[in-house]
């Protein structure tokens, strides 16, 4: 499986999907106007992926717009599918300690999909 390694910009997140090293991470901020085309390759990658070992998916965003929240849910739905094939999948949602909105966003996402969630402050 290929690796995805995107550097973050002022309106798109840093994304690292690197199965060889067991790193799955989205971080930074996500507010592109055209969210669907930005996230399309990520969703396609996940559609074709089956982890050979434990998959901890780290989401460490400090801000995202509502269009991105739709795409995050799409990612989580992909992770749920992977989990349903019998794989060990977990989402680690990290938020800044004083950011209640991001903490709450993590809690809301965890209620929308059947994937184990760990929500923690940094």
């Amino acid at each position: 499986m290929s690796t995805i390694n995107l550097e973050g910009t002022e309106d798109t997140p840093k994304i690292m999907l690197d199965p060889a090293n067991g790193i799955y991470e989205i971080s930074g901020r996500s507010l592109p106007e055209d969210c669907a085309s930005f996230y399309k390759p990520i969703l396609e990658w996940l559609d074709n992926f089956s982890p050979s070992s434990k998959m901890d998916f780290n989401i460490k965003l400090d801000y995202f717009n509502t269009a991105s929240s739709k795409m995050i849910l799409d990612i989580l739905t992909r992770l749920e599918k992977i989990k349903n094939t019998g794989k060990d999948v977990k989402v680690i949602w990290s938020h800044s300690e004083d950011d209640e909105d991001m903490q709450e966003a993590g809690e809301e996402f965890s209620e929308l999909v059947e994937v184990p969630f760990e929500i923690k402050a940094y």
């Binding site: 002022e10 309106d11 507010l31 106007e33 055209d34 969210c35 669907a36 801000y63 717009n65 509502t66 269009a67 929240s69 739709k70 795409m71 849910l73 004083d98 950011d99 209640e100 909105d101 709450e104 809301e108 209620e111 929308l112």
Partner: protein, 187 residues
Amino acid sequence: MDKNLNYIFDLHTTLSTKNIILVYEGEFTQEITKSVLSMAEKNLETTNEEISIKKKVFNVMVECLQNICKHSEEFGSENDDFNTAIFMIGKEDSEYTITSGNIIYNDRIDGLKNKLDQINSLDKEGLKELFKTVLSSTELSDKGGAGLGFIDMARKSSNKLAYDFYKINDNISFFSLQSRISRNKEV
């Protein structure tokens, strides 16, 4: 003295008495939207406002600007003369105001009004449930909107959204929308 230039002073006076710290009036392309946002963000960074308040203001700004931009791409293709909008940030002692104004077709009024009235009728929990329902039940529209912008603006501002429709003619109206964000943490 050139009397024709008086409007500049008038404009300046209006903006300062209304405590407007940033105003953009004109076309809203994706590039311009990004620039306005980045300018507004820099403007906020220089203040010593509490970080959580800054984030809420930024958040509401993003949704507001991206709403106008999406609408303007749709509306503008057939309405060259009316394809401008206004976006403003005000900073009062007690709150920030984020205001937008743009032209819409009259047949959109009922839909917008219903959506905004529904949002304004809900409390914090109700807004959270509505957000989750819309999030899990809709696809991104071809304009990239998820239909969540107004709900998010109401949630992050913790205030009702003020709005108005000013009829220009039988076809179009001016839609104004304002969110207020308190500068006192957790009121």
